[in-house]
Amino acid sequence: MKYKAVIGLEMHCELKSDSKVFSRSRNGYSKLANSNVCPFDLGFPGTMPSLNKKSVREAVMMALVLNCKLPEYMLFDRKHYFYPDLPSGIQLTQNTMPVGVDGAIEIECGGSRKMVYIHDIHLEDDAASMDHFDDTSVIDYNRSAAPLLELVTQPCLYSAEEAVAFLEHMRSAYKYCGTSEADTAKGQIRCDVNVSIMDEDATEFGTRVEIKNVNSFSNVYDAIKYEVKRQSELKAAGRYDEVVQETRRYDDVSGTTQRMRSKEDAVDYRYFPEPNIPRYRLTPEWVESIRREIPRLALERKDMYTGTYGLSEYDAAILVREKEISDYFEKCITLGMDPKEACNWITVNIIAYMNKNELTIDELFLRPEHLYFITDNVKKGTISSKQAKEIFFKVLAEKKEPSAFISKENAQISNEGELGEIIDGILAANPSEVEKYRGGKEKLFEFFVGQVMRQTRGKANPVLTKELLHRKLDQ
């Protein structure tokens, strides 16, 4: 393509909290419409917002993750518009003083690293959700006044791939920080995408088109691809004046974007500071305590896994996909497991078991301590690798401590003295075979191994058995 695409994203993410950001009703997805509502959510006359401290904490945390500058205090602005999803006609947002401005975060895209610059991130409340039917529409206020964090990037993304990589990165960051479930299927992430094109060597941006309410990452990808193609074709055909500053919507059935409203119809939101929320001071101590609670994020962990631990890109990526799995892995390392061994157990056995049984890693009975116990016993020679695997599945299925499956009877014989005596007995009982072996019939070695296994009913440590047999026969 002969034009460069320039993309800016607005990513709205619903935050996790017990109550809503500006009211006392429950913040949570519910199938039963209008079950999590209170007078404020419905815009009852005389009701006022009560700011949720937890939402502020989460907003501050994400602003810190994005390396933004924080304001001295939290200030909210009223944004006005008439629409049935907004009963009070007022959305509370942060127009004049967002919780974070001028941030930057490094992401990975297609194997290379890229800085994404953040214009701002601000805390606001969500509107009600609506369903439209042929001749009627219904409103569910459960989402009304729920906490929403909106981040706005600079126009610094240059492809659909980069845009989606950034969104994936942020989804992971939200989940790692525990600030959001970040589930697109539940509508917890919604995006607006700004797209323009320009000549490769141009210095000025082209005409910006905004695509509103794109609700899945694959739709973001498709919408950008479509919009870049549409604008490029018009420009190539000398009809670039037909690309106008406007708001469009993405239709995932046809895979196209369609005009919603032009710049001239833009709404004047008449922002001004919300008088009912006194300025809420962000003390440096509090901000620091929040900063200390930010966990290491996926990309940093992945770098450590491939660097320090020598894992493959592929394995490291699997381990960091979910924070819980990564935490599990790191716990195994802390206990003393070999990183590659822990990685193998997790990526091969544990994840397969989780998928098959539809469990999360935290729901498994088998904790890192159990896994360490099993592998440590293999290392000590108490059990064989084969037994280890059996015990692993027994622990998962029967929800019992692994020690319950390592008893005197099934314990491997790894004691040199004990095994030596058994071997001595077998050699003494088979003098002619010993004679033939020493005479050059080396195939008989397996016969002796078989005899040891038969006598110990398979419990003899196979490595030690072979070692001792060689020592005694080859002397």
């Binding site: 006392r24 007078p39 419905l42 815009g43 009852f44 006359p45 005389g46 009701t47 006022m48 917002p49 009560s50 700011l51 009223r78 006005h80 008439f82 629409y83 049935p84 009963p87 009070s88 006609g89 007022i90 529409s137 004047d268 008449r270 922002y271 001004f272 008088p275 009912n276 929320i277 006194p278």
Partner: protein
């Protein structure tokens, strides 16, 4: 026997002694209210049922009262003065109404909203009044709740010859009180004595989880603070407001009001108070009304966005939601409200904000700072309240400053001009409600207007 002209403390004593009962008081309040409604149009609703109340140790138990129709009252029609809310019966009560209910006070009626020509002044039908002020002045009950936004408690109190008190912003919760200008709305009270105003505010104040602007006033005890000790108090008045020489075209009424005020200054000095004349930049005083217009219209238009008929009020007709909202607002908001909405939308418009709204906020800050400067040297600023003089706009508008700063401010009757009540306003620094009420109590005790009931001096 009539009881409703008595003070809260007198009634409490009669109730404790068993000389009257809550029911007898309520019946009289209802009777008076219906009569006052007929004569002066002061009510939206006179209630007709109330839960039986017991007389307890609380001085407000069993005492009937009125509330401006801006206060949400559970199970009782609450219109906020809007046609759009003509059917709204809340399922919860406003924070202050809840607090009063806990004391055992009994809601006897909902009064007409704001200062309005539709409500007749019980002294003079030609004069303006407010529903709650009219009802208290005419003796419906001893006190009534109202909202002071610009000066809408303190001015009607002056016209009606009673006490009007607006505490420090955030002392009384606004939860469930239909919003006008959120940054200036103050819940307050009309009463016929400073003591009654203090008692009611004591009962209503306090932190409320549903109003983040409330502050902890648990160590403030207004009634207990009324000692009337005047020695050592430092008061001031602003020359640019109170000196007759500022008004070359003053009519006889204004002259009489200012003369009455100066007599009171002499009286206060005689009682040992220091009263100084101070000077404030006249340009600031002249900007007050424009600043109020801009900010009040801006916040009003915002608060009125919720009047859209989708959740409340009769759903507007129309084929689309936009049409329905438009028709609902066209019919549900009267002309004066529409004017506010249009001015408000204009001053908040993106390209106008800097010039109008933000400048108004800067002006508000300058004026508040000027008053705070006065409070560094003085306990209170006093001025004549509600002279009704059309040729003294700066004086008439000056009480708005109390709302700009969220200052505690109280108006008390201090004489008569042309047979109609004259009044004195006392305004102090934020959080100094005890001091301001004590000063008012002291001044009130020097005069003989406490507890007065309106008499129709003109027909």
């Amino acid at each position: 026997m009539t009881y409703m002209t008595k003070s809260v403390e007198e009634l409490h004593e009669l109730l404790i002694k068993g000389e009257t009962s809550p029911q007898e008081l309520l019946d009289e309040a209802w009777r008076n209210s219906r009569e006052i409604q007929e004569r002066y149009n002061a009510f939206v609703t006179v209630t007709d049922k109330a839960e039986e109340t017991e007389v307890t140790d609380h001085v407000l138990s069993g005492i009937p009262y009125g509330a401006e129709d801006l206060y949400s009252t559970k199970g009782v029609l609450t219109t906020g003065g809007f046609q759009a809310l003509c059917d709204y019966i809340p399922f919860f009560s406003a924070g202050p109404a809840d607090r009063l209910a806990e004391t055992g006070a009994v809601l006897a009626g909902k009064t007409a909203v704001g200062e309005s020509a539709a409500v007749r002044n019980p002294w003079d039908p030609e004069r303006s009044a407010a529903g709650s002020a009219c009802a208290v002045a005419a003796g419906a009950f001893p006190f009534a709740l109202a909202v002071d936004t610009g000066d809408s408690i303190r001015r009607p109190a002056a016209y009606c010859g009673i006490v009007g008190y607006k505490p420090t912003y955030g002392m009384i919760s606004r939860h469930g009180v239909i919003a006008g200008v959120s940054s200036m709305d103050h819940c307050g009270v009309f009463a016929r004595s400073t003591a009654d105003a203090a008692i009611v505010a004591d009962a209503m104040k306090g932190l409320d989880i549903d109003d983040m602007t409330t502050w902890d006033s648990s160590d403030v005890h207004l009634r207990a603070a009324l000692q009337g000790d005047f020695a050592g108090k430092k008061l001031c008045y602003v020359k640019e407001l109170c000196d007759i020489r500022n008004y070359p075209d003053a009519d006889e009424t204004l002259k009489a009001h200012l003369a009455n005020f100066m007599e009171k200054v002499v009286m206060l000095r005689a009682h040992g108070a220091q009263v100084d004349e101070v000077s404030v930049d006249r340009a600031l005083l002249e900007a007050v009304s424009s600043i109020y217009l801009v900010i009040s219209c801006a916040e009003s238009t915002s608060n009125l966005t919720g009047i859209n008929g989708l959740v409340f009020g009769p759903r507007g007709e129309g084929r689309s939601w936009a049409e329905q909202i438009k028709n609902h607002r066209t019919r549900g908001l009267d002309t004066s409200v529409k004017r506010k909405v249009i001015v408000g939308a204009y001053v908040l418009k993106d390209e106008n904000q800097e010039r109008y709204f933000k400048n108004a906020q800067r002006g508000r800050r300058l004026i508040v700072d000027a008053w705070k400067e006065l409070f560094r040297a003085y306990d209170a600023v006093i001025q004549p309240a509600g002279t009704g003089a059309t040729d003294a706009a700066v004086l008439e508008d000056a009480m708005l400053i109390g709302s700009f700063g969220g200052f505690p401010s109280i108006t008390i009757p201090d004489g008569f001009v042309d047979g109609l009540p004259a009044a004195l306003n006392i305004t102090g620094n934020c959080y100094e409600d005890e001091k301001i009420l004590d000063i008012a109590y002291g001044i009130e005790s020097m005069m003989d207007y406490k507890g007065q009931i309106a008499k129709e001096v003109r027909k």
